[in-house]
Amino acid sequence: MALKKLVISNVSKNFEAEGLEKEVLDGITLSVEEGESVCLIGPNACGKSTLLQIVAGLIEPTKGKILHNGELVDEPHCSRTIIFQDLNLFPWKTISENIEFGLRAKGVEEASRGITLEKYLNLLKIQEFANYYPNQLSGGTKQKSAIARALAMEPDILLMDEPFSSLDMQTREFLQEELQKIVREKNQTTLFVSHSIDEALILADRIVVLSNSPARIKSVVKVLRKHKENPDFRHSEDFLRYRKHISKLLKEE
């Protein structure tokens, strides 16, 4: 059997707050194949982000373990880059410097850093903003910059925490399509968190529906490639059918 790209094995997480133990995740088991895009969807504050941060290596699980290419995850690593919900662009660095930061951390030489930088500025169409600081830019451009910074790392697994939640609908839909194209072309393995069913359907091959606190896996919905290949998938009958199904699952929570 081929090695799974990512294995989440029986992961539970308890947090302690004001002396009370709160169970956030309960026995989550899930694996992600190479090139697959998986979305975690669930009620607000159900622990989706916590799970993503455990996968990133930023939080330790109370029980269970994460395997990345068969190796135990116990600290953050640049092969699992995460795009945070509030992006976390460094405000003291320009967009170029933000993107280059990860490359410098990786020890990439200056000349080839420049090439990679150009490539991802072009890919996300943000060349003209290269020398701007994040606080001079619109939400959409910041979003693209954070995506460029993460993709430039050429991560083995791309993690995203509600990447488009702060954008207006038009920008969001546009970026979803763009990202979907990029992910498909690069055969990028992706695990992301969303509370938008539409976003999940556009970006994911599989949608994992989580239940409310503590989060358990309630259901896994596979979005068939043949449906997704429809260029007008967003407005198709299939889309509505998926939507209804997932919406019903979520409403039960």
Partner: protein, 257 residues
């Protein structure tokens, strides 16, 4: 070009007018005999004294003495403040050892140290430098300590996820994210330093602007006292403007938590 100059002049019209009005009122008090002319010289007398003092040379020496003491004292306070803040932010034992001292010394006005400072260091540069170091230490220490303690986790996490090592973390993340607050501490520290040096020189020195106004008080040269005060104000204002400029130019970003 010209319109820019006019605009910037326009912005300052109210300020300039208010100063002119103040000087006029000052002159009026004297012209109408409302204030004893022995105690208050006219604005023109003050201006003449300023010109004389600048030509004379020892006044420039006094200005230079005060600035040197502020510079050395501030440097000392800043270095000690930054080092102890960094130690305490990262080490619990260091915090527990130093905090009682810091908190007991903090409420003592630096001026209350003057007798001890003079006994220990004699008259001259040293007591003033000591007092300036002491006074500038606290705002620099407190702001730096808080800045390090409040570095947003999100930037540290992001840097780690992007693979940063300790050196990159320090130079590219930690230092830039504390700098705005550290600069604020330095700015407050410098303002305090300037006030302390003048006060210390009133009693503990034989040169400097503080010594100059005290000497002229004894000589009943109110015009010179006023010149000294105005120069103190002008230099303090200039130092503050300089730091504000640096702040705006290089630390325009907000480090939000």
């Amino acid at each position: 070009m010209e319109s820019n100059l006019l605009k910037s002049l326009g912005r300052h019209v109210a300020g300039i007018a208010s100063i002119i009005l103040g000087i006029t009122a000052w002159q009026a008090l004297l012209s109408f005999g409302l204030v004893n002319a022995n105690f208050l010289p006219t604005p023109l007398d003050v201006f003449k004294s300023l010109v004389e003092l600048i030509q004379d040379g020892t006044f420039i020496g006094d200005i230079f003495s005060s600035i040197t003491r502020v510079f050395l004292g501030f440097l000392g306070g800043a270095i000690i403040g930054l080092i102890i803040a960094a130690l305490n932010a990262y080490s619990g034992i260091s915090t527990r050892i130093t905090t009682p001292w810091i908190e007991i010394i903090r409420p003592i006005p630096p001026l209350a140290w003057i007798p001890i400072a003079i006994l220990f260091f004699g008259l001259g540069d040293k007591p003033a430098i000591f007092l300036v170091s002491l006074g500038s230490f606290f705002p620099i220490y407190t702001n730096t300590y808080q800045a390090i303690k409040n570095i947003p986790d999100k930037y540290l996490h992001t840097a780690k996820v992007l693979g940063a090592n300790t050196k990159l973390l320090l130079l590219d993340i930690i230092i830039p994210s504390i700098l705005p607050r550290v600069i604020t501490g330095l700015k407050i520290g410098l303002g305090i330093s300037w006030m302390i040096v003048i006060t210390a020189e009133l009693v503990g020195a034989t040169s400097g602007l503080g010594y100059f106004i005290e000497l002229n008080r004894l000589l009943l040269r109110v015009d010179n006292v006023i010149v000294g005060m105005l120069v103190i104000g002008a230099i303090g204002y200039a130092m503050n403007t300089l730091i504000s400029f640096v702040e705006k130019r290089f630390f325009h970003y907000q480090v939000a938590v």
